[in-house]
């Protein structure tokens, strides 16, 4: 299943999409008009490039700053949160637990979580993860 469809399957996700770092191609699912999705793609790409530039500057202050390369960003609004990892964006409601779940899925698919995502999620509970899962 594509990551956008996976994100849309999570209750509380309003829309999710993917944009190209170069050019104007994008795709999306959810409650956005095609024009809104186009604007969201441009906005998210622009902000992501800006964040990348900023982390490059951090790197000049500290060689091993732990921030490069940037994975993405989150804007927490009054009732809606926008998060971006890599070239994937997601609009979601501010519901308890939702942001962490969405970020875990996004980081596992396009970000820095390596290996089994379920192991990562269960690791937060503690104890023997392998025993709980398998």
């Amino acid at each position: 299943m594509r990551i956008i469809s996976q994100l849309m399957a999570i209750p509380g996700v309003i829309a999710a999409g993917e944009y190209a770092f170069r050019g104007d191609r994008y795709s999306y699912e959810g409650h956005l008009t095609p024009e809104s999705a186009r604007m969201a793609s441009i906005l998210c790409r622009s902000n992501t490039l800006s964040i990348n530039m900023q982390t490059e500057i951090f790197g000049s202050f500290s060689e091993d700053c732990g921030c490069k390369p940037a994975q993405g960003w989150i804007v927490r609004g009054r009732a809606i949160t926008v998060c971006v990892i890599g070239n994937i964006f997601c609009f979601l409601q501010n519901k308890e637990g939702l942001l962490n779940d969405v970020m875990t899925v996004m980081r596992a698919k396009v970000g820095d979580i390596e290996g089994d995502m379920m192991k990562y999620m269960y690791a937060k509970i503690g104890g023997d993860v392998n025993e709980k899962l398998y």
Binding site: T33, I57, C67, I74, I80
Partner: protein, 131 residues
């Protein structure tokens, strides 16, 4: 007079440090900081053994002030253009790096190790932070 002023200042500073201590309780916290409206670092706590420095935190604070300002402009424009509400006022911002994420809200921020990160706990803690 001087002692009253000193007591007042020490109480204010104590409050700041308590806020930072509260932020350092967020899972995976590597550093907590407060900053002025312009982004200048005013208070900070850094966990021992991390690569973070006050200089990086100061730059991070400036970056976050700039990003929150941009996000506010975008949120306002988005609501006006699309009619979709719920973005304003922007309550917080997070920069997600490779090893850590910086989460800011109000005039406070916390740096969290990505392995242990809990964004919602961080935003909740930041809403309590008094800078």
């Amino acid at each position: 007079m001087a002692s009253i002023l000193g007591e007042h200042l020490s109480k204010a500073r104590m409050g700041d440090l308590m806020s930072l201590d509260h932020l350092m309780q967020v899972p995976g916290a590597l550093a907590a900081f407060q900053y002025s409206d312009k982004g200048d670092l005013t208070q900070h706590v850094i966990r021992e053994g991390t690569e973070l420095t006050p200089q990086v935190l100061d730059l991070l604070a400036h970056t976050c002030v700039a990003n929150v300002a941009i996000a506010t402009m975008e949120a306002r424009g988005w609501e006006a253009l699309t009619g979709q509400q719920g973005f304003e006022p922007v309550q917080g911002f997070s920069l997600v790096g490779l090893d850590w994420s910086a989460v800011v809200g109000g005039n406070c921020g916390v740096v969290l190790r990505n392995r242990d990160v809990d964004y919602e706990a961080a935003f909740a803690a930041l809403s309590q932070c008094k800078a």
